[in-house]
Amino acid sequence: MSTEPSQRIAELVRSHRILVCAGSGGVGKTTTAASLALWGAMQGRHAIVLTIDPARRLADSLGIGPIGNTPVRVAPETFARAGLLVKGTLNAMMLDQKGSWDELVERHAPTPEARDRILANRFYKQLSQSFAGSQEYMAVEQLGELDSSGRYDLIVVDTPPTQHALDFLEAPDRLLDFLDRKIVRWFVRPSMSAGWSAFQAMNKTVGFILRKIEEVTGVGTFAEVSDFFESMSSLFDGFEARVARVTELLRDPATAFLLVAGPDEQVLDQVEYLADQMSARRMPLRGVVMNRIHPLFQGAGADLDADEPGEVVARIAGPAARAFGREVPPELLDRLARNFCAWQERARGDALRIEGFMQGLPEGVPLVQVPNLPRDIHDLEGLTSLHPFLLGRVA
């Protein structure tokens, strides 16, 4: 096996069918996922990236936006224009951010009447707006469908932005908990639809409690909640089986999890916990992409004190004058030196945090670092520019 981390990430992409990019929001997860899928396509794979909210300009430049919940193939001419040799195909599928719950209901309601009843229920409307996890669930369900379609041999999943890196893995289970049979059964009891008065006859205490809760919340609430669950119950049976199937898919040896992170995140303190939790779910961490790092300059002068730009000025004055053609104004040199010192200070912090992070990583998990380049990535050229960092010189 190659020893360079980037070559090991390349090996990982080559030897797996599903790559799940997990991590909290705002660390370049979408871009990383797209870049990996593009690389797979260049190597001859039929790759698809399942994504949530790509930057508009990236989607536009690939000619794939903004179609929700349908796979779209990037046209060969797009690659040709960028001068890229792509042996396979690159596809993208964007999850519709807002319509996830509606989509689930549309898809799984047994009859049009049941569908309309659910969509019109007041509790459903609140729920679909506020219950987190529908996106995660949809991503998982779509992954299952893409896999069983047999059309792709590399599926890269860009997980929805969450606060915690593990949220994506937990979402399907949380949804199952929420739709727990016991709760559902309880609410679809005939007595519930009749409202609390039926309970009151049965049991004095329960009746009292219900009356108190309803005083606080509003008359008739229980009947409505019950109606909601009753109409939703037709969807539940399928949910459980589907979640179970995709969970197995996530545990398949052909599936690999990559953590995408940045160097100033809380997640860096929690890597051991994270890795343990992933192992416990039998979805082990296979690699880490550390985005937006400030590489530390290792040459002579690297250990200069950030408060002493004077020393930097003294050392660079000569080379600067040669480049400038004459002596450089001291004020300009001073700005240059101060910026360098500030950057080095930040870079030292990044290096320390990453070193601590790596100590917590399970043995053998490769970590690649991508520098904090000053640009928004919004085209194929931008995506390929990440390849040397992510996948080494093999590209």
Binding site: G25, V206, I209, G218, V312, P374
Partner: protein, 322 residues
């Protein structure tokens, strides 16, 4: 709007995409309010831990700062708030215990959508409206850390619709009208000047407008400053790698210095486009906080940003940002 005008409100609620520094900005506002003599209650929502940690860091890095004595902190948890509330409705303790341990109640709380969020906002207003000896003058809420910043602010309205009558309905309506009241509530939108956070900021801004909620302040965080102009970088030979190995360690150092200056200038230019976009699309009072190069971001940095934020609102030029 100067900082004292902001302080005439009783509640400041921060919203923004995860990872843009919302907690830092919340604390920055709280610190300055406390410096101006206000008793400030910093509120963290269920499950978040960052604010408490940041306040602890303040106490460690600036133990003698007098304003810290006027800063308090609570974490508001929806379910506990609901129980406190039911405690007012059902004064008999033994009965309360029965209610809370009953399946009926557990299932109801789990199933009623948004009830916990509603109770969270209700509890925040309870703190705002307290008048006892320890009552805060200002409540600053570090908003939810998910992409759904508006969820909590929307909840009272949603609840008023979901529960057509009853106590919750009346409370929800009252709370929502307080949130809409610009003289009582300030909403501070926090963002960084980058493409995706700005996209989300525009969405949040529209959402607030649609709900009739105040858009009081926009805080653009982590604004990079160009150390050199592009022309200056060019005059120094540019940032592209030079052919061959550098002739000396000093040459290598110089090349690196130009390279990182070019990087920073690049960030500053990218930031500038987004700052302009924000100015165009979200024309409300705006503060720009600088990106700070630090080995480790800590209590002293939050304090610096706090003074910068207040200074800018009071019309002083930023001491740090470009």
């Amino acid at each position: 709007m100067n900082f004292d005008e902001l302080l005439r409100r009783r509640l400041v609620f921060t919203v923004g995409k995860g990872g843009v520094g919302r907690t830092t900005v919340s604390l920055a506002i709280g610190l300055e309010a406390a410096r101006r003599g206000k008793r400030v209650l910093m509120v963290e929502l269920e499950g978040a831990r960052g604010l408490e940690r940041a306040i602890d860091e303040q106490r460690k890095s600036r133990p003698t700062a007098p304003e810290l004595r006027r800063i308090g902190h609570i974490e508001v948890e929806g379910k506990r708030a609901l129980e406190e509330y039911l405690g007012l409705v059902i004064p008999v303790r033994r009965l309360l215990k029965t209610v809370f341990s009953s399946n009926v109640y557990q299932y109801f709380v789990a199933a009623a959508p948004g009830l916990k969020e509603l109770m969270t906002v209700g509890k925040i207003w309870y703190e705002v409206e307290r008048t006892d000896a320890t009552a805060p003058d200002l409540v600053v809420v570090d908003g939810p850390a998910t992409g759904h910043s508006l969820q909590y602010l929307r909840m009272p309205k949603a609840a008023a619709e979901a529960f057509p009558v009853g106590l919750v309905h009346r409370e929800a309506e009252r709370i929502f009208s307080l949130l809409q009241d610009e003289s009582a509530t300030a909403v501070a939108i926090v963002t960084t000047p980058e493409e995706m956070p700005v996209n989300e900021t525009l969405e949040i801004s529209r959402g607030l407008s649609d709900l009739g909620l105040p858009r009081t302040l926009l805080v653009v965080n982590r604004v990079h400053r160009a150390p050199l102009t592009p022309a200056e970088i060019e005059s120094l030979g540019g940032a592209s790698p030079r052919d061959g190995d550098p002739a000396s360690p000093d040459e290598a150092l110089f090349a690196e210095a130009v390279r990182v200056a070019d990087g920073e200038t690049g960030w500053a230019e990218l930031n500038r486009e987004n700052v302009l976009r924000l100015a165009r699309e979200v024309p409300i009072p705006t503060v720009r906080l600088p990106y700070l190069f630090t080995e480790e971001f800590g209590g002293l940095h939050v304090d610096r940003l706090s003074r910068d934020l207040a200074g800018q609102l009071d019309g002083k030029p930023s001491t740090e940002a470009a």
